[in-house]
Symmetry: C2
Subunit: 687 residues, 2 copies
């Protein structure tokens, strides 16, 4: 977001660019240079409903009864959001709003392409009852790079039949029911079109430091972090011409360095003071530098909206900042799943997909021993794709993305993985909301991880007793942007050369020519906790012979990788084809449009086996690469596996899932799937 | 808690005991058998403030303006709480209350000895501004076992100058500001002494099933999960005589199986209906079986208090239960640290210790590179001792408690530890509020852990960037109840025989005769992830010779354990004395009144070394036990250690802490501490 209320030092080039864009924007359209309408500044407090004034008036006027929050009315909210970081910020804002709300909400999210992608997925999977998120991407070139001015153009961007809207910055936090804010529209006179809270610093007085030349404003000016807009009247009043004219004129003499929508709003209001309805200060308590906010809330026991409009954000100095921070952290770490609660007493249509889901859940038998499995399979997890800034890899015909999933207890693998795999990665992380913040700090404090822009982290929020391993894999897979994917697991480290070798192999084997193949990367394991990673196949073989390394799961479950034929691999100089066999679960490289994982397999067991089976059913060739290898590092058994390994019910349920999987396989592939049935009926070893 | 509003099947013995206790209670005091005052039941709704009625009246009466919540008034709340599980429940209630409150609160916690111990520690460490917790243990024999009747005797138990109090069950959750409830006292007429919400089931009509014989009640009766009490008037009116008389009379003809305070309250009210002020139903929305609560909240958009008064608790069937559950889970998992926020606009004295703490924190220099270390050292973590039911070990003169600390990523060690150590344990767990709930489920689903009553789990709530290792050790140490403690770490498994061997050694070495000694348990490690634990010293030595085991940290930091003299240990038949040397950090058995750990060492490094140094300074003999051993299992480096190992600042800060520690040591032990200074100045290897 562009800065509000404070100049940020811009380099000369950036300044030029900004001016260019503004010029383009201002003069590119159909401007009507109508006469400005200068008028004296109206007394700020004069327009206030008594008891609702800025901090100057509230101690003398008697309180007027509050407007009643409208029961069940649909409230309209618009938020401008661009980029990865604002897409995270907006979630905390929305959580705080949902926590206190009692009304249905229509969210108008005005975004760039990055935020659109993130927010569409997020709200689609969040499934909050009585919330309609409408994510609008603004593709117009006029707008890109000008998100700081976007609030000015909302009357033109939002649906033409929209009459009223509350516009919010992404850095505000609600401490109250937004319907109370909505109710303030009732105080608007016939002429008023914009509701704003007074600016809570002396910025617009221009006396904060020498050579401080703020834009013109009425008195202390207004802050645009929270706006009530009468869109109908703005459109009628020719709002677009009005603000463009004012901006154009002011830009002739004023610097653009501090330019943001707020300056233009203030300049327009200075000229047309009857447009503004001042709002009670508690609806935008501004924790900016030089804030005078204390004058407001020291008298009001009820804070309504906190606005973190200092560049210092949570680290701003303020007498009560700890309380404000606690409120913010409350929602930052709040389990968003809990906000899926329905509204009472208001007709509450369910979000798309939710009804079908509820029907499916209702059909489950709670007495079924596998009830929790089936419930988990149906769970729609909230998904936040590209949780951290991410630069998509340049398009290359043989590029490969490493795909894996993890939870908190494997974070320490990430640095090593980054050292071993210099290419793009798509990782799904299974986290609570609070853990997602820990993860954020972990990446920020890691030099290795911060340096990588090509690793996409997708947060899948935790819900339910089982680790939804295949749902996680599918999220990571769906977000891989290269033509090929390496489907790995987080406990493996690839050979240092693997990334380059895979790309070369894909090219050499002409997979892009339509050859349908899965390239097998042989897997090994060390049982030693301290371990020096082999830098070549020769070194690996030496370690294998010395007993320091083993083929993967050699001791417990050799069938899982036996078809890879490690003996042949030792000698192989060229890729060789192997045949599918029961229980085969190699790590493979495939085109990214490969079949998805079967999401019925949650927790532990059979999740990869089923996927390889489906690749085979679709007649993927299985080609083992002679120089490729990955090594599994030892780790303590995860909580879930310890919990469920001992459970006979777990094994029974897994068997039931396998049977159902096979029935589906037969349905899809007919007689060709018979061989899997035969294989299934063989006695099984440990999971 | 005793059941409310629903009979629970009691065995004949329990029934007899209950009757005996009641009889004892009723007839043991100075009872005045004054005449009962029968009167017709007043019409329930007649006494209601309009708009505040039970669900029968609220749809016709026009709403009356709400009483204003009292600004800054101190609100009095009483909660009866007994045992480990209620001590957990009460925290969720208190969190929900604190979240919405805007007033100072005085909490009167009426407890048994277990809950007193837990809650005193919890509130002392929670340090919530403007909350005065007063934990009263009820030692009177009359009362013990009668917690279900405790609410009746509150007028006698609470401070005699207390005029009004809100009484809450531990199974209610607030969804609103408690001051609004307090404000309802204003509706009491001169005669009214008790405010109650109507019972939201037909229980007292006695028609729920055949042979259902409820106690007498006015109409549908009242629920006692939320009570407003005018204590002054109750005392004046001779409340104690009143209810004892009614109860005595009714017990002549009615069964005591369903007996709880609620029945007696209702019987008294039936007799004296003018005593009661009916409260709006939203202040006690009862999710009992057969609940009619929907009639209440389907019309009120504002739910105030949810009451989980079904034995099914969160699994109760109800149209809106998911919403209620979400509210409950919100506070169950809410980070209690965030509730330490101060109140605005009310004079807000700090809890004991908080002022001193704030001064110390204010003196820290934010620019100091070690600022975060020093901040963490000063952090007072909330501590919940004996988070799960725990049976103190029987008093035995040579008994030893294993003391250790862990966080979530080591939970999977607990089962193995239980198998290796059959004796008492005192474990500190460093968890978030949400993780504490995961931990609870983990123990519940583990047969091994559920079977153990002698393992005390103490939750220390997370706050700050460093793992406060020595604070955790001190919490676990302070809660050990045997005369000796074995100071271990969570990654070690003891020899199967260690517990018995230690007790025998303590007896044999006559440590209880005043010999000041620390028994050294030699430590080994395996780097192999899969590992068969040696069942004897001979087997251990064989594994050592085979290279499958090593002495602990042999590869990285042999100085840490070199003074144990492993060569001598191989041959030793008897305990032998060793001398302290720089960097020595053995695992030892000491009397539980040993010196505490130095809590300045947070994160990783030097935390045990400092403790052993202090033992040596206090002239503990170091005696190595010839048959004792523990083995360290491999694990991935923890998040914190990976993060900080690479940081030069971290090393510098650790050095600064060490220097300060030594200065303190010199101050305490004078010239005798000189040898530690010399040792400190030697070059150091890795942490």
């Amino acid at each position: 977001m562009l800065p509000r209320g404070r100049p940020r030092a811009l380099g000369a080039a950036a300044l030029l660019l900004l001016l260019f864009l503004i010029g383009f924007f201002l003069f590119g359209g159909d401007l009507d240079y109508g006469r400005p309408q200068p008028r004296g500044a109206a007394a700020l407090d004069g327009d206030l409903p008594a008891g609702y004034g800025g901090h100057n008036s509230s101690d003398c006027d008697p309180p007027r009864p509050r407007p009643r929050p409208p029961k069940c009315e649909l409230l309209q909210v618009a938020i401008v959001c661009a980029g990865h970081n604002s897409s995270r910020d907006i979630i905390t804002l929305v959580k705080s709003m949902l926590f206190y709300r009692k009304n249905p909400l229509h969210l108008h999210l005005v975004t760039d392409a990055v935020a659109r992608n993130i927010l569409e997925t997020l709200f689609h999977t969040w499934m909050v009852p009585a919330v309609w998120p409408q994510v609008s991407w603004i593709p117009n070139k006029h707008y890109s790079g000008l998100y700081g001015l976007m609030k000015l153009v909302l009357p033109g961007v939002l649906p033409p039949d929209l009459v009223r809207v509350i516009v919010l910055d992404t850095d505000v936090t609600f401490a109250s029911n937004i319907a109370e804010l909505w109710a303030l529209f009732a105080y608007f006179s016939d002429k008023q079109v914009i509701g704003l809270v007074e600016n809570q610093s002396d910025w617009y007085f221009g006396n904060l430091w020498r050579n401080h030349r703020p834009w013109p404003a009425l008195g202390r000016g207004f802050n645009t972090g929270v706006i009530l807009l009468r869109l109908d009247r703005l459109r009628q009043a020719g709002w677009e011409q009005m603000w463009k004219m004012t901006a154009t004129r002011e830009l002739l003499t004023l610097p653009a360095t501090s330019l943001a929508d707020q300056d233009i709003f203030n300049a327009v209001i200075k000229e047309h003071p009857w447009l503004v309805q001042p709002l009670p200060c508690v609806w935008n308590v501004q924790l900016s530098d030089h804030t005078l906010a204390e004058r407001c809330y020291s008298e009001a026991s009820d804070l309504k909206v906190i606005h973190w409009n200092s560049p210092k954000k949570l680290r701003v100095k303020n007498k009560h900042v700890e309380s404000f921070r606690n409120l913010y952290l409350t929602f930052l770490e709040y389990d968003g799943n809990l906000l899926r609660r329905e509204l009472f007493g208001c007709p509450c249509p369910l979000p798309p997909g939710a009804e079908q889901l509820q029907r499916a859940l209702a059909q489950l038998d709670e007495e079924d021993a596998c009830f929790e499995f089936r419930q988990q399979q149906l769970t729609v997890h909230r998904v936040h794709i590209t949780f951290l800034p991410h630069k998509p890899p340049p398009s290359q015909p043989h590029d490969v993305t490493l795909v894996a999933q993890l939870s908190m207890d494997r974070l320490q693998m990430l640095e090593a993985l980054c050292r071993h795999w210099p290419g793009p990665m798509s990782l799904a992380l299974y986290l609570t909301d609070a853990e997602a913040q820990q993860f954020l700090r972990f990446v920020e404090t890691s030099a290795v991880l911060s340096a990588r822009q090509d690793v996409a982290y997708h947060v899948v929020y935790r819900e339910g007793p089982f680790y939804p391993i295949n749902q996680l894999r599918n999220v990571a897979l769906a977000q891989a942007l290269t033509p090929y994917v390496f489907l790995s697991d987080i406990d493996f480290l690839p050979a240092y050369s693997l990334y380059n070798y895979l790309r070369a192999s894909i090219e050499q084997l002409e997979l892009d020519g339509g050859r349908k193949a899965a390239l097998v990367v042989p897997a090994f394991e060390t049982l030693h906790y301290r371990f020096s990673f082999p830098t070549s196949k020769a070194e690996l073989l030496a370690l294998l012979d010395a007993g320091s390394l083993h083929t993967f799961r050699y001791h417990e479950w050799p069938r899982g990788h036996a078809p890879t034929d490690y003996a042949r691999w030792r000698e192989a100089q060229e890729p060789y084809r192997v045949q599918w066999a029961a229980d085969y679960e190699p790590y493979v490289v495939v085109p990214r449009d490969c079949p998805r994982y079967d999401s019925r397999f949650v927790g532990f067991g059979w999740n990869k086996v089923a996927h390889i089976m489906e690749l085979d059913a679709q007649e993927y060739e299985l080609l083992v690469l002679p120089e490729a290898f990955i090594i599994h590092l030892p780790h303590a058994p995860s909580l879930d596996i310890s919990r469920f390994r001992s459970s006979p019910t777990y094994r029974d349920c897994l068997q039931a899932l396998k049977d159902e999987f096979h029935q589906d396989l037969s349905r899809s592939y007919g007689a060709a799937a018979l061989k899997y049935l035969t294989a299934l009926q063989q006695p099984r070893g440990p999971i």
